[in-house]
């Protein structure tokens, strides 16, 4: 920690002014007159801008999927607001404090209108429409069938019905959103933004402002976390760009924490009714589910509300050989903040529902949860899943065994079969037998222990092909530029900036290893659309290692070949006895065509066989040559240059790799306090297989971080709306994130199954903990409370839900769970014998 990071809030520009948004306090309202008079008279105020002052093309969900309805979203709302926190005006002042004060003086004639917060209620007859032209608030509805789910369910000996109301998350990066826009020449703009995808933002700004892309320069300075939140272009970013253009001076907006909690896009929030068909022998025959996503008030640009239920449907089989699948995908508009991507996007909540169902099936069959998984995990590769994903390689079984082993050790010492509970397995027994059971903590009679284990597959490293395997239309390719400067330094220009993932290290390692230079001689730049080639998708979808990293590896190989050609020519000249020309000497006449064309080619062929370039030094020839010498010669030795087929040390490489799938298993040991309903995670075992690891320390950091966020989702995180339609959480004192003190010891282990399809067998990774840790913890809590027949049907597992679910609170549920499956057209066909969510809750 050196304090040298420069975030949007740290930037200084001449004539900079600060902007604060005036936001709707109502979930739905007509916006009457906006009186700016008092605000304009306040100290320091430069301008108060409303929708009419900033004409533009609204933001639009860019995903192209049949049946997806469109919800144009303005940068500033005009006559109508659709969620609490939607901006209607922009107050610009010399200082932020002045803008905050003046924002309170903008008088808006709010005319509140009926609103709907719950996706189940949104589809009911008579529900207020969020967008008048979208009937029943149904943004999207489709039923998909793979294999013969009806047959599978007819043949099943056991059908488990598993409802799940998933929580609404906030990605909650430490640095909130923000941007600074400054007018540039020729009507252009330079925009510094806290973003994951500079090119993506440039594209959205071009579409909304009408400024051509080449006149828009987007720079991502240091970005303090994102986790998906900063993938889409924010309406606020568009508004700031427009304001800078309108005012002719740089304008900055820095999001506040409460502003983020209320007005930033939220995440996940699926209502699920899942059914699992199982044979008496413990085969998982089929799965069918209604996945109803709460879209929020707009289907968010660059991401779409479909990222949740639609992507979740594709992964319903998960890591298991489940051949028959039916998915009813729904997305419903409500008067809540829009849903945008967050780590584990789409997959977290369907995974949780499936894993809870598997544990219940195991209990019904008298198997341990680990054993039921063992019998069904994918074991041969490549494996085409029922939904069309091609799992390239993996160690599904080995990861499960390792996770069970790592988490079981501690429980085995727990002992004490008080209260008539089964004794834990000893260390010598099959540790898998421990998962799913329940023990009393010998030191604390009110505390019950339980273990949950979950296997996962993570569609990771999305290029366009990975997206296609999720039936998603998404251009996800990168171009990179790699160049060696005249002193032998290497510059890697990529379009995928880091928000804390360590790209500057990892990508430099890729270049260093493939090119054969020292890692400290490689500089990675990724921040500036004027300086780096296009990445259509930016940093998202665990794609940087395979897409950007793959492109850099291929570029490095090409550049390495050129360097070795230079080396071969220099060495050849040594043996010919001719003095090396001095750099800058008059250009010699090129040799005869035969020499010029033939020699380097031959030389390169020989070079590949005899010369080695590693750590910046060529060995294997009569003398050693450094990359610095090669670079010097390649730039300034004109005689040598004349013999090179491609006399430059700049390579541009395009890459769009095949899909890869990481896998692993997570196991959790939890303690449930029956006296308070408190859940403590005592131990986590995290086993990850992401193929070839580029940097094990970065992989471990990604695994641990994602698991931490999964723990938050299992136990605390939830953006709860009050009856007034405004989120209740207004600080990190009420939206509870996991802190270091709440996180248990994590045992992280690895298996490695290199992908047969990618450069060096690398796979994407980094989201598995967010996908699978909530399931591991939910399964563990259910196991701890298995004597009480606790069925998890809602996350997070608050004290109240734990105690009530276990029958330990006598009063009726004050806030009954909303039925997970909202009535929606076409739903019954896929669903067959619909699960009654109430029956299991």
């Amino acid at each position: 920690m050196r304090g040298r990071a420069r975030h949007v809030a740290d930037l200084t520009r001449p004539r900079l002014v600060e902007a604060v948004f005036v936001r709707s306090p109502h979930p739905a309202a007509r916006v009457g007159a906006i009186d700016k008079t008092r605000a304009l008279a306040a100290p320091g105020v430069v301008a108060v801008l409303t929708a009419g002052d900033l004409p533009h093309t609204p933001l639009l969900d860019s995903v192209q999927i049949d049946g997806l309805r469109k919800t144009p979203q303005p940068a500033l709302a005009g006559d109508r607001v659709r969620f609490a926190g939607e901006p209607v005006a922009l107050v610009v002042a010399h200082r932020r404090a002045q803008a905050l004060d003046a924002a309170e003086l903008v008088e808006v004639d709010w005319q509140p209108t009926p609103f709907v917060l719950d996706p189940g209620a949104a589809a009911a007859p008579g529900a207020p429409p969020v967008h008048d032209e979208i009937a029943e608030n149904l943004l999207f509805s489709a039923d998909k069938t793979y294999g013969d789910p009806a047959g599978a369910f007819a043949a099943a000996d056991l059908v488990i019905e598993q409802p799940l109301i998933g929580n609404r998350y906030l990605a909650a990066p430490l640095e909130g959103r923000g941007c600074l826009a400054e007018p540039a020449d020729h009507g252009g703009l330079t925009v510094w933004a806290s973003t994951m995808g500079p090119h993506l933002l440039r594209r959205r700004l071009a579409q909304t402002t009408g400024i051509p892309e080449q006149r828009l320069r987007v720079i991502a300075p240091d970005v303090g976390g994102s986790f998906g939140l900063k993938i889409p272009a924010a309406p606020e970013e568009v508004a700031i760009a427009l304001a800078a253009r309108a005012l002719g001076r740089p304008v900055r907006w820095v999001e506040g924490r409460r502003e983020q909690l209320v007005a930033a896009p939220h995440a996940k929030d699926q209502r699920i009714a899942l059914e699992l068909a199982v044979s008496a022998r413990g085969e998982l025959l089929g799965v069918r589910a209604i996945l109803a996503g709460n879209a929020g008030a707009y289907s968010f640009n660059s991401a779409s509300a479909l990222i949740e239920p639609y992507l979740g449907a594709g992964l319903l089989p998960g890591p298991y050989r489940i051949e028959h699948v039916a998915a009813g995908i729904r997305s419903l508009l409500t008067n809540t903040s829009p849903i945008s991507p967050y780590r584990g996007v789409g997959w977290t909540q369907p995974h949780t529902a499936r894993e809870l169902a598997i544990d219940r099936a195991a209990r019904a069959l008298g198997l341990t949860p680990a054993e039921l998984r063992r019998r069904n995990l994918v074991a041969s590769f490549p494996h085409r899943s029922a939904t069309g994903m091609v799992y390239d390689s993996g160690s599904y079984l080995a990861c499960l065994e390792t996770a069970v082993e790592l988490v079981g050790g501690e429980v085995a010492t727990g002992g004490a079969a008080a209260a008539g509970l089964p004794a834990p397995a000893g260390p010598s027994e099959d540790a898998g037998a421990t998962a799913g059971a329940s023990w009393v903590d010998p030191d604390e009679p009110d505390v019950r222990l339980g273990i949950g284990v979950t296997s996962y597959v993570e569609p990771a490293g999305w290029g366009s092909n990975g997206a296609l395997q999720s039936e998603w239309s998404f251009a996800s390719h990168d171009a990179v530029r790699l160049q060696v400067d005249p002193t032998g330094g290497v510059l890697a220009a990529v379009g995928t900036p880091s928000q804390g993932q360590g790209h500057a290290t990892t990508l430099a390692q890729v270049v260093a290893a493939e090119l054969g230079v020292r890692v400290e001689d490689v500089t990675v730049i990724a921040q500036d659309t004027d300086a780096v080639p296009v990445s259509t998708a930016g940093t998202r979808a665990s794609r940087v290692a395979t897409v950007t990293g793959g492109a850099l590896a291929l570029a490095s190989r090409r550049l390495r070949k050129r360097l070795l050609e230079v080396a071969e020519l220099l060495l050849e000249r040594d043996t010919a006895g001719s003095p090396a020309p001095v750099a800058g000497s008059p250009a010699p006449v090129a040799g005869s065509p035969g020499t010029a064309a033939g020699s380097p080619g031959t030389a390169a062929g020989d070079a590949a066989a005899t010369l080695t370039l590693a750590d910046g030094v060529v060995t294997g020839g009569a003398r050693e040559l450094t990359v610095r010498q090669l670079a010097e010669a390649a730039h300034f030795d004109l005689a040598l240059r004349a013999r090179l087929p491609e006399p430059d040390l700049v390579v541009t490489q395009f890459h769009d790799p095949p899909a890869t799938y990481s896998n692993g298993a997570i196991a959790a040991l939890v303690a449930v306090d029956l006296g308070t309903g408190g859940v403590t995670v005592r131990r986590l075992a995290v086993v990850e297989d992401c193929g070839t690891m580029l940097n094990p320390m970065v992989v471990d950091g990604q695994a641990a971080g994602a698991v931490a966020q999964g723990v938050g989702g299992a136990l605390w995180e939830d953006v709860a709306y009050g009856e007034d339609g405004v989120p209740r959480g207004d600080s990190f004192g009420s939206y509870l994130l996991p802190r270091i003190g709440e996180l248990p010891e994590m045992a992280i282990a690895h298996h490695s199954s290199p992908s047969p399809f990618t450069v060096n067998g690398v796979k994407g990774m980094g989201e598995s903990g967010s996908i699978a840790a909530p399931a591991a913890i939910a399964c563990a809590v259910a196991a701890a409370l298995s004597p009480e027949r606790f069925v998890v049907d809602r996350l997070p597992l608050t004290a109240e839900r734990v105690l009530r679910g276990a029958g330990l609170l006598d009063a009726p549920d004050p806030a009954p769970a909303t039925p997970p499956a909202p009535p929606a057209p076409g739903g019954e066909a896929a669903r067959g014998e619909a699960a009654d969510p109430e029956s299991a809750s």
């Binding site: 509870l736 003190g741 709440e742 004290a799 009063a811």
Partner: protein
């Protein structure tokens, strides 16, 4: 910082402070660890004082002093961290030291004050309940040199009670609403005095929060006397601390295991907080269950620990 506009005064004397506070829209600024974040949030309905009266420059307000009768006096500006680590507090009011260690974090305790926490009167916070449990008395200064005292219970509107008839449990698990103190405009608490305690009494503070060190859902102070009677004071179950007197001394005799049977009495207390005798609404079932659990644990912990006289030697 995103604080809304306000006037700021840093008086050098108590009289000056109380005169400033007589202005209707003034508020006291002590440690600022609750007030300042609330100001910065600019929440609708949140605090919007026209004047903040900072007590920092008034000499002597941060003292922690022994009283001749064996009690201790804690000045309005004594920081929570100082109280937590004070040998005098450890000796004369160990319950206060124990509970103070649960407030926020060391960094907030370095600024936050014990008296400020009492005056803020957050229903689930540690200090109000501990002050009631220890029969603490507030010294109050008012405009024109007026001085008076009030017990913490009077100040907070808490009254001792014993459970009697079960009340119908209220359903929603909403936190109790903050009611504030019985201070009148212009008044401020100058110090909190904790009278001398019996050397044989044993105490404990136990609380439960979703995450450790958050504001608790429920907290319980237990004071077990030499004769076996006990007092439990609950935070987070009503707008003011709720006191429960345990008359039965027998279960508390004989140390650790036989001490626990107080559980039997407390079990009946679960879900049955009595509005008649406490003057507060019954808590929701969740808080009732947690309160019952914590009450048992607080008693157990108090009995398990050494009596204060032993602790002084240890």
């Amino acid at each position: 910082m995103t604080l809304p506009p306000f006037d700021y005064a840093r008086p050098a004397s108590l009289d000056e402070a109380t005169d400033l506070l007589a202005r209707g829209d003034a508020r006291v600024l002590a440690g600022g660890q609750s007030l300042v974040p609330a100001l910065a949030a600019r929440l609708p309905g949140g605090p919007r004082p026209g004047l903040l009266v900072d007590l920092y420059a008034i000499p002597g307000l941060d003292a922690i002093e022994p009283l001749p009768d064996g009690g201790v006096r804690i000045g309005a500006m004594a920081r929570q961290r100082t109280v937590e680590l004070s040998p005098l507090i450890a000796q004369r009011a160990p319950l206060l030291a124990e509970a103070t260690a649960w407030i926020g974090h060391p960094s907030t305790r370095n600024r936050g004050t014990v008296v400020g926490s009492l005056a803020y009167a957050e229903p689930a916070a540690e200090i109000p309940s501990v002050a009631v449990a220890l029969d603490a008395v507030a010294e109050i200064a008012g405009p024109g040199g007026a001085r008076r005292t009030a017990t913490a219970a009077e100040l907070l509107g808490a009254s001792p009670a014993t459970p009697t008839t079960p009340a119908a449990p209220q359903a929603p698990a909403n936190p109790p609403v903050r009611r504030g103190t019985a201070l009148t405009p212009g008044e401020l608490i100058v110090a909190l005095t904790i009278p001398a305690r019996s050397a044989a009494e044993r105490t404990a503070w136990v609380e439960h929060a979703p995450r450790r060190y958050d504001l608790p859902l429920v907290g319980v102070a237990a004071v077990v006397r030499a004769d076996g009677t006990a007092r439990l004071v609950f935070a987070g179950v009503g707008p003011a601390p709720v006191t429960l007197q345990l008359r039965s001394s027998a279960p508390l005799r004989g140390g650790r295991t036989t001490g626990v049977p107080a559980v039997a009495e407390l079990r009946s207390f679960e879900g049955h907080m009595d509005p008649e005798s406490t003057g507060v609404p019954a808590p929701d079932p969740l808080r009732a269950r947690i309160a019952g659990t914590l009450a048992r644990r607080a008693l157990r912990q108090a009995l398990r620990g050494p009596a204060r006289t032993e602790a002084a030697h240890g």
